[in-house]
């Protein structure tokens, strides 16, 4: 098991993730923040990031959130993506505000 350094450019935030775990679970298991956490299953899209530098592999991601074209440009869902080298990324996804609860 190799550990890699994951760096979120805009937030000056770093954490390490193993080659066996997803970027999101690496972040969550160290109690770090920066990438929004939703379903952790590649379905909801809130953990979407763009990989700016580094090599990685991905499990199947919802096409509703990452098109084939985006996938070829380095957009991934962090809960489905595993590092193969150190990584630099930009957070793209966000929690959408539902009408339910908007008064807060």
């Amino acid at each position: 098991m190799t550990m890699f350094e994951i760096h979120i450019d805009s937030l000056q935030q770093s954490f390490s993730a193993s080659s066996e775990q997803t970027l999101l679970s690496g972040m969550e298991s160290l109690g770090k923040r920066g990438i929004p956490v939703g379903c952790r299953g590649g379905g909801c899209g809130v953990c979407k990031v763009r990989i700016d530098k580094g090599r990685y592999r991905c499990k199947k991601m919802s096409r509703a959130h990452v098109s084939a074209e985006e996938e070829s440009q380095g957009y991934v869902l962090a809960c489905r993506c595993m590092a193969l080298s150190d990584i630099q990324l930009t957070v793209v996804g966000q929690m959408k505000k539902a009408v339910f609860g908007t008064q807060d």
Partner: protein, 307 residues
């Protein structure tokens, strides 16, 4: 029990991205039983205490979410009558021939103002439970798998034209609103029942059409909800929130995600709804406790993450 001709939620077809992983989740973890597969690769499941052939259909696809939710009605006559009424209401209506889903009779499929696809059907083959109908035991060992989900209970859906969907279900299909949520004058949530449960379908106002929040399954007790939480920990499943209690419907509950990111609930206990009851109303300033009664605060992921 039905007062309206619509008996109960009958089935839900859920899209998953990997059938193998999904079957481990729904069979080994939730404890649903596989009852069939079809030529297109769909897998049919039911809870251990359900008698009809299936209540959950899984379909492999490249994006998760809900294809449709169906309600069983009490007769073919009711099916024809309600088909006419949803047409009159202005829904796009399609009839799906018997056998398109194995063991299921003709289905009347229609869309709702919130963009969801619903179906009605009158007939589904009898599969039965392990206990049978003659001098049955309360349960058999085959029923004690994973979380031991007894049956499919309801779905919670997100969509834009909430008022339209409430009108469709109450005025056309005879559902009642057991509980409703208001933000000032704007209704933002409805809990609809066709029988004597606190809800058979819940819908929340949302910016996009046709979103799936969760499918819910019934457990026997609060103790079973806690054991479901142990299973979530043991198998490192994706926990959303709980175990906790809802103010709305009073359910004792836990939420988690399937391996494709679809949310599931298992819960125990609500209350008996009688059709002469006035709706219970929740206001936005008390929404924290309405949703999560113990900590009285809203949870961003619970409110916004959908497939």
């Amino acid at each position: 029990m039905s007062m309206t001709g619509v008996l109960r939620p009958g089935h839900v077809q859920i899209r998953v991205m990997d059938m193998g992983e999904a079957l481990t989740h729904y069979k080994e973890r939730l404890g649903l039983q596989e009852t069939d597969r079809d030529a297109s690769g769909r897998v049919y499941l039911k809870g251990w205490d359900e008698r009809d052939w299936f209540s959950v259909v899984l379909r492999e696809a490249d994006e998760p979410g809900m294809d449709f939710m169906a309600f069983k009605v009490d007769s073919v006559d009711t099916l024809r009558r309600l088909e006419g009424r949803v047409r009159e209401f202005g829904c796009n209506v399609e009839t799906i021939p018997a056998g398109e889903l194995n063991h299921c009779g003709e289905r009347v499929r229609f869309d709702s103002p919130t963009g969801h696809t619903f179906e009605l059907y009158a007939e589904k083959d009898y599969k039965g439970t392990q206990m049978g109908l003659l001098n049955p035991d309360p349960w058999h060992e085959e029923c004690l798998k994973g979380m031991q989900a007894q049956r499919f209970d309801h779905c919670l859906l997100y969509g834009d034209d909430l008022d339209g969907t409430i009108k469709l279900f109450t005025e056309v299909l005879g559902f009642k609103e057991a509980e409703q949520v208001y933000d000032g004058d704007l209704q933002i949530g409805t809990f609809l029942t066709c029988g004597m449960k606190a809800h058979d379908l819940a819908v929340i106002r949302h910016t996009e059409k046709n979103k799936f929040h969760h499918a819910s399954f019934l457990l026997g007790s609060w103790e079973d909800v806690l054991r479901a939480a142990d299973i979530i920990g043991r198998y490192k499943m994706s926990l959303d929130i709980g175990p906790t209690r809802h103010g709305i419907t009073r359910g004792r509950t836990i939420y988690f995600f399937d391996p494709s990111g679809n949310r599931n609930e298992v819960f125990a206990g609500d209350y008996t709804y009688y059709p002469d009851y006035e709706p219970i109303t929740w206001t936005a300033d008390e929404l924290g406790g309405a949703i999560f009664y113990h900590n009285q605060t809203l949870n961003e992921r619970f409110l916004t993450v959908v497939t």
